[in-house]
């Protein structure tokens, strides 16, 4: 299918940029887990499989920035997980079919953390930090694929324990 870019652009330009797309009630889920992926480490199949095996009844928070994060979120959505994806520029990209299905099933919330926090055009590093801080503040526990040092700018402020899986 070839989408008519002019038409899509018209529809987009007439809207106020959304802060979120999807079901905001996921933010107040009874159980939620933030996933922190170290961009310097590959996403291992054992980490992915652990998440898919043990957290099906939990709303998972993840940034949607790095290739590893995108890959993991896609796996989660394909496996019918509920996901809060922290991102930006919600109207710019196209989304895979899995995102559309999850949105229709109320299993997905996409958040523009830049609009939420009022930070415009952050660098990739600053954007990543924004995502991590948002997740740290809104999830009730955390899972990381890297030693604690990788997220030293976020984890010390957490009021809950962090689990590590390699």
């Amino acid at each position: 299918m070839v989408f008519n870019d002019d038409l899509v652009a018209f529809a987009v330009d007439t809207q106020v940029p959304p802060v979120s797309i999807g079901d905001v009630s996921l933010l107040s889920a009874e159980r939620s887990l933030a996933i922190f992926l170290d961009p310097s480490r590959p996403l291992s199949s054992s980490f992915r499989s652990s998440v898919l095996s043990f957290y099906h009844d939990v709303v998972l928070f993840s940034p949607l920035s790095t290739p590893q994060e995108r890959s993991l979120v896609l796996s989660l959505l394909s496996a019918d997980f509920s996901v809060v994806a922290v991102s930006r520029d919600l109207l710019s990209p196209v989304y895979r079919t899995e995102f559309l299905s999850a949105a229709a099933d109320h299993r997905l919330l996409l958040l523009d953390v830049c609009l939420l926090t009022g930070v415009s055009s952050p660098s990739p590093e600053a954007f990543s930090l924004l995502c991590h801080r948002f997740m740290a503040a809104n999830a009730e526990c955390a899972l990381c694929n890297s030693p604690r040092d990788a997220f030293a700018d976020v984890f010390p402020s957490l009021s809950y324990p962090v689990s590590f899986l390699s």
């Binding site: 008519n4 899509v8 229709a104």
Partner: protein, 159 residues
């Protein structure tokens, strides 16, 4: 009957009154405002528009309906794409969009006219009534509507 397993998006809108929108090629600029006014007159609480996404008028209508929050079943005559624009995602999240494909198989390419006829037949068979934006008396839609009495024509040659 629509196989719900083949429907992407919000399936509950299929329980609404389904109105198919068909349109022959060659719709005149004078007819476009009539189609737009028809779209604005729809009761979004009770109606689901069944629409294709091939011709420009169909794409314009689909975007207007999504913009106006009118429930929409998009019927594609080609395999479901892997990617969708964010406006589709927003409409699905709002519970207003479902998408179905009438492609015979993912890897089978049919003549455009044949695939359009299959799509039109699906839309006609799965809708409670039919609105035709523009009807070419010599076109395929005209012949496909033969025998149907639940048809409203907005624009037609000679009228």
């Amino acid at each position: 009957m629509i196989d719900l397993n083949c429907v992407l998006g919000c399936k509950s809108i299929l329980n609404l009154h389904r109105t198919a929108f068909l349109c022959s090629k060659g719709v005149s600029p004078d007819t476009v405002p009539i189609i737009s006014r028809w779209a604005e007159s729809l009761d979004k609480s009770s109606t689901c528009v069944v629409c294709g996404y091939l011709m420009q008028i169909e794409q314009q209508l689909a975007h207007k309906l999504m913009w106006d929050k009118v429930p929409l079943l998009l019927v594609l005559d080609e395999p479901l794409p892997r990617f969708f624009p964010s406006v589709f995602l927003q409409a699905a999240a709002d519970g207003l969009l479902a998408i179905v494909s009438t492609a015979v198989s993912p890897d089978q390419s049919l003549d455009r006219l044949v695939s359009a006829r299959i799509r039109n037949a699906f839309m006609i068979d799965n809708s409670d009534d039919i609105v035709v934006g523009y009807l070419n008396p010599n076109g395929t839609i005209h012949s496909q509507l033969d025998g149907h009495d639940n048809v409203t024509i907005l624009g037609q040659d000679g009228l």
